[in-house]
Symmetry: C2
Subunit: 380 residues, 2 copies
Amino acid sequence: MKKIRLFTPGPTMVPEEVMLEMARPMEHHRTGIYKEWVKEAHGLLQYLFQTKAMCVTMAGSGTAAAEAAIVGCCPTGHKALVVDNGKFAERWVKVCAAFGIANTRLPIEWGRGAKAADISKAMDADPKIDTIIIVHSETSTTALSDIAGIGRLTRDRGALLIVDGITAVGAIPCKMDEWGVDAYITGSQKALMLPPGLAFVAVSDRAWERIESGKTPTLYNDLKAYRKSLAEWDVPYTPPVTLVRGLLCVLRGIKERGLESVWAETTLLARATRAAAEAMGLKLFAADPVDSVTAVVVPTGVEEGALRKTMRSKYGFQIAGGQGELKGKIIRFSHMGYVDAFDTLGVLAALEMTLIGQGFKLAPGAGVAAAQKVFAEAMK
Amino acid sequence: MKKIRLFTPGPTMVPEEVMLEMARPMEHHRTGIYKEWVKEAHGLLQYLFQTKAMCVTMAGSGTAAAEAAIVGCCPTGHKALVVDNGKFAERWVKVCAAFGIANTRLPIEWGRGAKAADISKAMDADPKIDTIIIVHSETSTTALSDIAGIGRLTRDRGALLIVDGITAVGAIPCKMDEWGVDAYITGSQKALMLPPGLAFVAVSDRAWERIESGKTPTLYNDLKAYRKSLAEWDVPYTPPVTLVRGLLCVLRGIKERGLESVWAETTLLARATRAAAEAMGLKLFAADPVDSVTAVVVPTGVEEGALRKTMRSKYGFQIAGGQGELKGKIIRFSHMGYVDAFDTLGVLAALEMTLIGQGFKLAPGAGVAAAQKVFAEAMK
């Protein structure tokens, strides 16, 4: 028997009861029942994003929702600053390029998060910038940016703040209204512990003003149509009905547990994993580590491809490698969604066994013991 | 106990075994296993579309795939003819408008399908037209257009043919290569009997040439990225993994039954429904009826909203009403996917009971008997 456990930062594992909820007979989306679902999901999404703003649900990947937010918030005459500290920033630059949106990149060392001072300097240097595009938790480097501080700055300067919260929302504190975020984006397959296929963007009133001020050069990813439908708890295009059914199930659970408690659980898993890495003599990659995903540097003498292959084929743990320039150099572990302390002890044990198998010097059980100590203290 | 049966032309009912297949533990999409799925699904999609061309699978509704096909095939300098014989044509005009694509509409009476002669005349009148956008089975009116004839014409004239096959592919004959279709579009929630969330577009070599010749003004719906990934059995953005798992299950079943036999079953359900309507003294709406959906005119004295409500709340049958200018005037019954002769006898019985309840003069059982006669002859 081999049990498969996903420790990838999306898709993450889906609770069995959510899978079975989604397996219930199909429902049609032009019915009173579906309107009820849309309405309830909207209220729960507002709780998730900590906002009174309108939360749009789309069929597609997180890229679809991010594209919708960027193209909507940047009609002709506006200019975006894309904060570039990892692989996903590159994608938002590509969105700007595809739609002919004026933009400038702010390069930040990979592994670091952006601070308000970085943004402030870039805006001083180019007064045309009136839109900031930033990744909250840069999944490729596991670095955390300071959205609270940056939100204060963009409010002061009258700029719009678009935040890719794809491995942040539902995992770590994301307070849209308190922080002043104008478009907050996430996907279904991360902290929401659903299969991929749904994407979300919560849109502030300030952002809607900008969106409605211009002609949006796309139909499918034009947020205006979603807004119009949502006013009647409806959808402009056929929605992924089964995934929406699962969404309701997951969001009800998150509300019941309370976001603060969900965030605390994510932090605990990250702390235990970091303690284990240290005890195993491994280095963390990120200078500003986020709690939703941990990146560990592959030690000298260890072959990353073989390590991940053994983890999956021998022990059943699917972890992630590095992307882009980090390929082969780091391995990443998710702490989002349907994963707990005991799954985490398992992946750390498998990591130790795999490293030892590759000849890495390590006292067997050292990492697991360090993690268990963190859990034991927190779960007293 | 009330069993719910969807007779809507999408979403349609999903087989229980497909629902449970999709409920299996999550799999990651950057794995060798997923590449195998992509490869197998691609081969099966080629069978479904009857083509050797590349078949792109996207996360989104059918509108996403249609937008991708239209915007890709119409870079600057090209002009589209949108054949307008129902509600969905309107949407493709909107796509052209959003992306600034030169286009002209060819209005055809609702309920009628387009013939090659209609297209030929429009192309003679405007020699700039080099792309035809047409709906194969216009779901809103249940009219069938002659794609085989139109394909011969567009090949002769060197134009590209984009076909919305959303309630056609997998339900009625759709022979991409034999007919000369350049972009054939469908969605998961119709004849493929899956939940909504996946969309497909099969793209001919001629269409790829056009697509690669210009800059596509969108990222998410740019087919070039899908083509590049598909060459390595990969995907550019996180795909709806569970739906792809269901897709494999459904397509294997369709291949096993054989497309000809699937098409024949759809036709049989349509024939029986049309015979029942006639026996009940009801009129069909479409002059050129398609076999995937049947539209019946609501008779004088019957209130359509109340009829559909009773069908659903009393008998559990969800049927569709009219859209746009046909609202209140017709009701529609799907013959696609996971629906058989006995489900169809059921919906016809419920229709009779509902009509009689509204005072419509009808010999109880007349329609059901007429349908049963058709089935009995075919199932001998």
